[in-house]
Amino acid sequence: MAQILLIEPDRVLAETYYRLFVGDGHSVVVCAGAQAAIMAADQIKPDVVVMELQLIEHSGIEFLYEFRSYMDWRAVPIILQTQVQPGEFSANWELLRSELGVSQFLYKPHTTLHQLQRAVREALPQPAGLETS
């Protein structure tokens, strides 16, 4: 199962997502802010990052630039799950996708746990020898 780095500033939501992912058999490290997330990433070597953009002090975008500046983390899939409405990002989506390697954008208020589970499943590399249809 995967190592998930969850960057979620709200404690109640973080606890909910944590229980979801742990229930799916993943190992999860929760960080409330960008600085702590960089340090955590260095220790746990995440397979996937699930993150909010609205963080305290350093924004999620700042985290993304910092995170992607390290060679080891350039291929790690990133799922944005945020309170920011998708319409506000339509102009910057290409930048997020191509330059910062964001694999999925989820609007948090409209994203069910089931959709989040599916997004994580799709973002993770398929085990060798497993064919997907």
């Binding site: 500033p9 709200d10 404690r11 109640v12 939501l13 909910t16 997502y17 229980r19 979801l20 229930g23 409330a32 802010g33 600085q35 702590a36 909010e52 609205q54 963080l55 305290i56 002090e57 924004s59 309170q83 920011v84 948090k108 208020p109 069910t112 746990l113 089931h114």
Partner: protein, 249 residues
């Protein structure tokens, strides 16, 4: 223009002139803020369906917090529109802080924040609109409780509801172990409120509606929200004027 339209226009114009903060921007801020508790409730209910156990106490507390934010916003609007309906009276600050703590207790528990009351000292009553003052402090407290876990720093999260005397009057406020709660950050946030979805980025990840609602309520009562210190803690609060006449009785 019909009577109703005229009346609405009159009230809107008065609302804008009485307190520019109580505008569509504040309403937008509140709407943005409400996404958080509603998301929490929806996702917890969903997790309960998946795993078979629902944390009803957390859901209840989250819903209560959202309802209080709406009530406090509505009170701020009413205070601004009809200030003559809300008389000031001699109020015990200690009693208001105690009741504020009671209202915030369940929210603090689910966010892992320890609430402390620091009301030592005899300051006598102040002149205030009790409901408005308490609504402002509850609104402010809820916003700080939600923000504290994400601020990091101290291992033990605590929020102190405190009062003390300053050279300007009696200060009532909420204090924490973070140096992010400054006048500069607050003023910066007020300026950014109309342009940013996260105007108080230095101390909250939300739209900061609780803080702006408190700000609006206090303004409607001719008071100010400002940064202050209490012992070694940093916080936000307001300065109230003691009723010297009653102290003599």
């Amino acid at each position: 223009m019909s009577y109703n339209e005229g009346t609405t226009f009159f009230y809107m114009a008065r609302l804008q002139s009485a307190s520019p903060m109580l505008s569509q921007h504040l309403l937008l801020t509140v709407a943005e803020e409400l996404k958080l508790p509603l998301s929490q409730i929806a996702r917890q209910a969903e997790l309960g369906q998946l795993n078979g156990g629902v944390d009803l106490l957390t859901i209840q507390s989250t819903a209560d917090t959202a309802l209080r934010l709406l009530d406090n916003y509505a009170l701020g609007v009413r205070l601004s529109l009809e200030p003559q309906q809300f008389d000031v009276e001699p109020v015990s600050v200690s009693s208001v802080l105690y009741d504020t703590g009671q209202q915030l207790q369940s929210l603090a528990k689910i966010y892992g924040v320890s609430l402390e009351l620091s009301i030592a000292g005899k300051y006598g009553p102040v002149m205030a609109h009790r409901q408005g003052l308490q609504a402002a402090l509850v609104s402010l407290g809820a916003a700080l409780i939600e923000a504290l876990p994400a601020l990091g720093g101290a291992p033990q999260l605590r929020l102190q509801l405190a009062t003390h005397r300053s050279r300007y009057g009696i200060v009532a406020g909420l204090y924490a172990e973070t140096d992010k709660l400054t006048n500069q950050a607050l003023q910066h946030g007020r300026k950014l409120q109309t342009h940013s979805r996260q105007p108080l980025m230095n101390f909250t990840h939300t739209s900061g509606a609780g803080i702006f609602v408190a700000d609006a309520i206090l303004r409607a009562m001719q008071l100010n929200l400002r940064a202050s210190r209490h012992h070694r803690l940093y916080g936000l609060g307001t300065v109230l004027q003691p009723t010297n006449q009653l102290q003599l009785v």
